[in-house]
């Protein structure tokens, strides 16, 4: 912290210490910085643990390897889902919330002590649930559908974790209020903060749903409540579970804008459009629980159709808008920097050697093409009959939450380490290939699991070969299914390698990286075209620059793929046995 220009603001009784970031000129509250560090480190630790379980699961599902025993497999799968989807993602989101409020707005953070209370609750909760799972009699998967029952501390841990996260959300909101009152910025909050605000609002809603269902379930597990209806449980659980995926989307889209801004100097093409797109997420956030209940008895088709489509696909519309404006803003910025030849010079000459940029762009493409399209198909009421609970489902969400969210979070880490931990990234050559390794591995597991799912292979299933030994009525999947599972295993090894590299680079950089000061602050952010950390693009990329042929081609390609894949699936559906 050699460059820390300590500045002490006396606000109320609290003395807030700031430093000035040498790369961005932002004023960084040291209390916020410590919270960001703690949450980011916890996130990475849980990614390492959960990712390890993921590899074990994938190797078990590879028939030729079939690594774990069935009991251990279900235990590992439960731990995998919890540690990555909840712990890794949410700890990291806490760091993002603090960064997007206190740091980006140059404000002091609200109630940092409460931030630590929340953090400790989350850690205690996460450990408690992990212990319950590792003890072996809570292999109920992270969804813990009733009437299957886990040990009480499984649920209690989740509740504590959620309460901790809720505290983090309120600190974020409080910080926005403080920044506004103390006028640390002018006009409206930046787009990245707006995206984080979207994530936060959705988080508050989903955590409330989570509490509504997990608290009675906890009471049921200790015997105070006699019965919980399985359908009702699922409905409320997914009101949390699916809407919370919208938190991830908002967070990673905000990060796309952030990385595009820092690495190529991109500006939103239109603040109005990008913000409206975020707003669509908020407006329709309470829908989409139906994604998980399309072949469920006891719910009407009318409800399913309206809910699954977020009221006529309006939240999907939000994502499709970001899908154009993010690459569009990159193209506009690159063209202004002089990369104007042909349709794609801006893309070819983009800083592909900068892991933050590479990870961000891969995340964008894979989230859209693999995750987005498969998600809409999966979420179509009738098409879901061909996919529900097959491996198509994990295939889809490894494209969204792994290739999309996780990769975006990894990418932004390459900026967070120099900006917040104030360390250079060690092993830049390895860092350069890390996003590619992980990205290709992650899209592999997505694609091959989707492939296996199309062939009918069940998810959460220990052995697709049904050994005649213990199965009375064996069924043989087509040999192609085993091939898919093998390719999935290979991709898992690739993704795991990328994951291990990420963890190693982050840990080594924090511990041994060269300290960042004014002399290397900008260089530490990785290679950039013409070094454009400070406003390289002077004016908006609006009407004037709206000639973005490369983006049109990309969007056109996306849209064509979408339409073709969508209708192909209706064709497949029409070949199923008629049913009413």
């Amino acid at each position: 912290m050699t460059t820390a220009v300590a500045e002490t603001g006396m606000i109320g009784a609290l003395a807030t210490k700031f430093r000035i970031c040498p790369a961005t000129g932002l004023r960084v509250d040291l209390a916020a910085e410590r919270l960001i560090k703690a949450n980011a480190v916890a996130a990475v630790v849980f990614l390492a643990i959960g990712g390890g379980f993921g590899l074990l699961v994938a190797l078990t599902r590879w028939p030729a390897v079939h690594l774990l025993s069935s009991d251990l497999f279900y235990l590992a799968l439960t731990a995998h889902g919890l540690d990555v989807l909840l712990m890794w993602i949410i700890f990291f989101e806490m760091a993002v919330l603090y960064f997007a409020s206190a740091v980006i707005l140059s404000s002091r953070i609200a109630a940092p002590r409460w931030g630590w209370v929340g953090f400790v609750l989350m850690i205690v909760g996460a450990l408690m649930t992990n212990v319950a799972v590792l003890q072996g009699d809570s292999s109920v998967m992270f969804t813990s559908y009733v009437p299957m029952q886990a040990r009480p501390h499984f649920y209690l841990g989740l509740i504590l974790f959620a309460v901790g996260a809720l505290i983090g959300c309120f600190i974020f909101l409080g910080t926005l209020v403080i920044a506004k009152e103390e006028k640390t910025y002018e006009g409206s909050i930046p787009l990245v903060t707006f995206g984080a605000l979207t994530a936060c609002i959705i988080a508050v809603f989903t955590i409330a749903s989570g509490a509504i269902i997990l608290i009675p379930t906890f009471l049921w597990s200790v015997g105070y409540i006699g019965h919980i209806d399985s359908l009702m449980y699922k409905l409320v659980w997914w009101a949390m579970g699916h809407s919370s995926q919208q938190i991830n989307v908002s967070a990673h889209v905000a990060i796309w804008y952030l990385i595009a801004a820092v690495t190529v100097g991109a500006k939103p093409l239109s603040e109005k459009v990008s913000r409206t797109a975020f707003l669509l997420y908020i407006l329709f956030l309470q829908l989409a629980a139906a994604h998980h209940m399309l072949v469920e008895p006891g719910l009407s088709s009318e409800w399913k159709i309206v809910n699954t489509s977020y009221m006529m696909y309006l939240a999907v519309l939000g994502s499709m808008i970001h899908g154009m404006t993010v690459p569009g803003s990159i193209e506009a910025a690159q063209r202004k920097s002089g990369f104007t030849r042909g349709v794609f010079e801006w893309l070819r000459k983009a800083p592909w050697g900068n892991p933050a940029f590479a990870g961000m762009f891969l995340s964008l493409v894979m989230f859209g093409f693999l995750g987005g399209i498969s998600g809409v198909v999966l979420g179509t009421e009738q098409l879901n009959i061909m996919m529900h609970n097959t491996l198509y489902v994990p295939g889809h969400f490894h494209a969204t939450v792994v290739a999309g969210t996780t990769l975006a979070f990894m990418a932004v880490t390459y900026l967070v380490v120099p900006l917040i931990f104030q360390r250079e990234i060690v092993w830049p050559k390895l860092a350069k290939i890390q996003p590619y390794l992980f990205g290709i591995g992650a899209s592999g597991i997505s694609l091959f699991m989707m492939g296996a799912g199309t062939l009918g292979v069940a998810r959460r299933h220990w052995d697709i070969t049904f050994p005649a030994l213990d199965v009375t009525l064996p069924y043989g999947y087509s040999p192609a299914a085993s091939l898919m599972m093998g390719l999935n295993g290979l991709s898992a090894i690739l993704a795991a390698t990328g994951g291990v590299l990420y963890v190693a680079i982050v840990v080594a950089s924090i511990l041994f990286g060269k300290k960042v000061d004014a002399s290397n602050a900008v260089a530490a952010l990785g290679p950039m075209p013409k070094k454009v950390v400070h406003d390289a693009v002077a004016k908006y990329g609006d009407a004037g620059t709206w000639h973005l042929p490369g983006t049109y081609v990309l969007v056109g390609l996306f849209f064509t793929t979408f339409i073709l894949y969508y209708f192909v699936n209706w064709k497949y559906l029409s070949e199923l046995w008629p049913m009413q």
Binding site: P190, V295, T380, N389, Y475, Y566, S574
Partner: protein, 184 residues
């Protein structure tokens, strides 16, 4: 930049570029098409799950399935002791789920329609008919009645695809589809 406040304070009054508007319009229309596609399929499509569902006491469902199996049993499945049951064409067929089996085995005729009643006696299970890959969620206490019409003769597997405990992967069932007038 996206990390700075909007450059013009009244950003909500900025004009939107035409290309952007076009894309928003196209994406919105596409959303409408996809929305109405689901409704269209309910009216003209052949594959829709029924909403014919009732609450039922698991013990009652078990009794009905037992009665059904006793009445229409045609043989036993190998030496497993599981009855193979052939309901009359156009009639009701029952299959129950319990940890860890689908019971009984059914024999249906190609081209005939059956009202298939499915429910669970204990936990949630997943009725996954293979290789045609038709998947239906099964809850305890809810009886789902789906009218199905097999289109091809063959041996079909029923796999459980909702995780239902440590024996989930051994939970299988079977449906035979025979050409009409055969089998039995």
């Amino acid at each position: 930049m996206a990390i700075h406040p909007p450059q013009s304070r009244v950003w909500w009054k900025e004009p939107i570029a035409k290309a952007e508007l076009v894309w928003i319009g196209v994406a919105f229309l596409w959303g409408l098409i996809m929305f109405f596609m689901m409704i269209y399929w309910h009216i003209y499509g052949q594959q829709n799950l029924s909403t014919q569902v009732g609450r039922i006491d698991p013990a009652v469902f078990e009794q009905r399935t037992n009665d059904f199996a006793e009445k229409f049993k045609v043989r036993e499945e190998g030496d497993t002791g599981i009855p193979v049951v052939k309901p009359p064409a156009g009639g009701d067929a029952y299959m129950l789920a319990r940890t860890y089996e689908w019971w009984p085995v059914l024999e249906l005729e190609k081209g005939k329609s059956y009202k298939l009643h499915i429910s669970s006696l204990d936990l949630q299970h997943g009725f996954s008919l293979q290789p045609i890959n038709m998947n239906i969620q099964v809850h305890p206490g809810l009886e789902h009645v789906v009218t199905i019409t097999p289109t091809e003769a063959g041996i079909y597997g029923v796999v459980c695809n909702e995780y239902c405990g440590l024996g989930h992967h051994v939970m299988t069932g079977r449906i035979y589809v025979v050409d009409s007038g055969q089998g039995g």
